[in-house]
Each structure stands twice: as C-alpha cells, then as structure tokens.
C-alpha cells in the first residue's frame, strides 16, 4: 500500500499537533517507500534497513523542521538523501582503513590470488551474457540497471543472467555441473 503526498502530509500535520495515532500510522506508511528508496540505491546492500531506521528516527527528532506550507515528500526525501550521502561519505572514510587491515591481515595472499584465478576459470565456462553480467555486477561493482543499459537488455534479464550464471558456477564448484 502506498500513500500519496496529501495523505502523508495530513498525517504529519496532525502528528505535529499532537495526534499520536496519526503519527504511528505515518511512520508505518513511510517505512515501505523508504525501504524501496534505499534498496534501489544500495543494490541489495543490507545497510538499507539501517538507513530506513535512521531516516525514521530523523523524521522524529527533526520533525520541527517540517514547514507546513511545503510538500511533505520533498522534506522526507531530502532527509533520506542526506542519510544516503552520509552513508557513502562514511563508507569512503572507512575504505582506507579496511584496505589497510586487509593488507595486514592477509598473509595468504597466494591463496587469495588462486581464488581469483579459480573464479576466472569458472567464469570462462559461462555463456558470454552471464559472464559479462556477473563480472560487471559482482566484480566491477556496477548496478544491475547500469549493466542492463550497457548490454541493451532489460534489468530483469540482466538479473536473471547473474542468477543463472552464479547458479551454474556454484554447481561446478560442488562438482555437479557437466
């Protein structure tokens, strides 16, 4: 169920005027669209749920900054966008440390390299479409929609290619394939 601007705004105004019931239902209504918003942008990252919670908390603690003469959804997504960019900023700050940690804590560099070679060998046995989709999404880090656009296929087709390819690779690793 999705509620529209007028409905959400009416609930927000009631909530600001002290209607606890309207407030409860508002927060309930906000969670699904926010979840969709973050999932779409984080591409399956499980931090999407954290960001939904953070945004709902900000909606609560910063509710006085909502201007009743302006659209509610614009306000809401400004908060969501801020939380998302904050998440990316934090991520970038942490990457340096994580990489360093990885360097220090990986005495088995050789094993890691062999694993990479294994993956390449597994990939080489896939049909070109599946191989390309997996390489782009799982190794190079592109989103499904970017891959789909580049290969001129639909996003669901790209998703299916990734899924089938991974399944086939898994089967080969477990010795079932071919």
């Amino acid at each position: 169920m999705t509620a529209d601007e007028t409905e959400l705004k009416a609930r927000m105004i009631k909530a600001l005027d002290g209607d606890a019931k309207a407030y409860q239902s508002l927060l309930r209504l906000l969670a699904p669209p926010l979840r969709a918003y973050f999932r779409r942008r984080l591409d399956g990252d499980e931090t999407a749920e954290d960001l939904v919670q953070e945004t709902l908390m900000a909606v609560h603690s910063k509710r006085q900054t909502f201007d009743r003469s302006r659209p509610f959804t614009a306000w809401l997504y400004a908060i969501a966008r801020y939380k998302l960019s904050d998440h990316f900023r934090r991520g970038r700050r942490l990457v340096g440390l994580e990489e360093l940690d990885g360097e220090l804590a990986a005495p088995n560099f050789e094993a890691a390299s062999l694993a990479a070679i294994d993956v390449e060998r597994l990939l080489a046995n896939l049909p070109a479409k599946q191989r390309g989709a997996i390489q782009a999404t799982k190794i190079e880090g592109y989103s499904l929609s970017e891959v789909a656009a580049a290969a001129r296929i639909s996003p669901s087709d790209a998703k299916m290619s990734v899924y089938r390819g991974l399944k086939r690779m898994a089967a080969r690793v477990q010795g079932k394939g071919q």
Binding site: K62, T65, W75
Partner: protein, 191 residues
C-alpha cells in the same frame, strides 16, 4: 524553529553586549551620535546583514533547502557600498587613510570576532535541533549571522562612523567568521 533560533540569537547577543560593556565599555559620546545619519547608516548595515543572514540560516536549517538563497547575503553590503564611495569622493585623497583606519581599526575586526562567539554558541544550540542538508553553507551562514549580530552590538562601542571603515573592517570580520563557521560546521553540524 523560528522561536528556537530567536532564543539562540537573542541570548547570544545579550551575552555579547554584556561582554562589550564590561571589557571595553560604550562609546562616551553615544548620546550625541543618536541623531547622526552616519551612525544610523552603519547600524542599518549591520542590522540588515544580521537580519538577512539569520533568515537564510533559518532556511538552511530545513532539509532540502536551496543553496541558491545565498545570493541575498551580500545585498546589504551592496546597498551600503555607494555610501562609502560617496565618502571617498567627498574626501581629499590625502585623507583617505584616516578615513579607512578610523579610531580603532586594529581592534575592530578582532572585537567583532570575539563578540560573535556567544552568538555563534546560541546559533549552534538552535541548530542542534535543525536538519541542515548543506552542512558547510549552514555553518558559514551561522558564522556570518553571529558576526553580523556581534557587529551590531559593537556599534555601542565603535568610535568610528564612516562607511568606508565599516565596509572594510566589519566585512573582514564577516568573512573570517563565515569561514570559521563553515569549518566548524563541517565537524559539528552533522545529524
């Protein structure tokens, strides 16, 4: 939101005024300048800068505020600028330096910055409940607001009423305070 901002600014300004009176005192001829146009035009410059920047700060405290609003900040300066040019045009070039340096140029910028600290504190207290999405801009405008309010308070003491003086030294204080506010804001205004 407006009430919280007003509370922060007014409390800060009151502390600034108190500090000013305790540390350097009011100008001895304050009673006489109350009917001087140059005194009031200086007050108008600081007051309008303060009003415009507090207004923009209030807007930047809301999520999704447009950064394009910043263009109104220099408007008081641009309105006051012709007064300074007029002063220069009506003064012999040999007297331009005294016009610029006034009676207290050495302490003016620093005193305004010092007096802006309590106001910045009050603004910062208000901003903790706000949700700025342009952190640096919000910090800079908070710094500008603080220094403009401080300059307004400083008019109680400042012995120089020329526009050239205020346009240069007050504006220098505004610029430094905006810069400091942006740097401080980036570290402390996250939510």
């Amino acid at each position: 939101m407006a009430r919280r901002l007003a509370a922060g600014v007014v409390t800060g300004a009151a502390i600034s005024a108190l500090l000013l009176i305790v540390v350097v005192g009011a100008r001895p001829n304050l009673g006489q300048v109350l009917n001087s146009a140059s005194f009031w035009s200086k007050v108008a410059f600081t007051l309008t800068t303060a009003a415009v920047s507090v207004f923009v700060a209030a807007r930047l405290g809301r999520p999704g505020a447009r950064i394009s609003l910043l263009w109104i900040l220099p408007v008081p300066f641009l309105i006051y600028l012709p007064v300074g040019i007029w002063e220069l045009a009506h003064t012999d070039a040999s007297q331009w330096m005294p016009l610029l340096l006034g009676h207290g140029w050495k302490q003016c910028t620093w005193l305004v910055l010092f007096l802006s600290l309590p106001v910045y504190g009050g603004l910062w207290w208000s901003f903790r409940r706000f949700a700025p999405t342009h952190i640096e801009a919000a910090g800079a405008v908070a710094g500008l607001s603080a220094s403009a309010v401080a300059a307004l308070v400083y008019c109680i003491h400042c012995p120089t009423d020329t526009a050239v003086f205020a346009l240069v030294w007050y504006t220098l204080a505004f610029a430094l305070a905006s810069l400091a506010g942006a740097i401080f804001g980036r570290r402390t205004l996250h939510w």
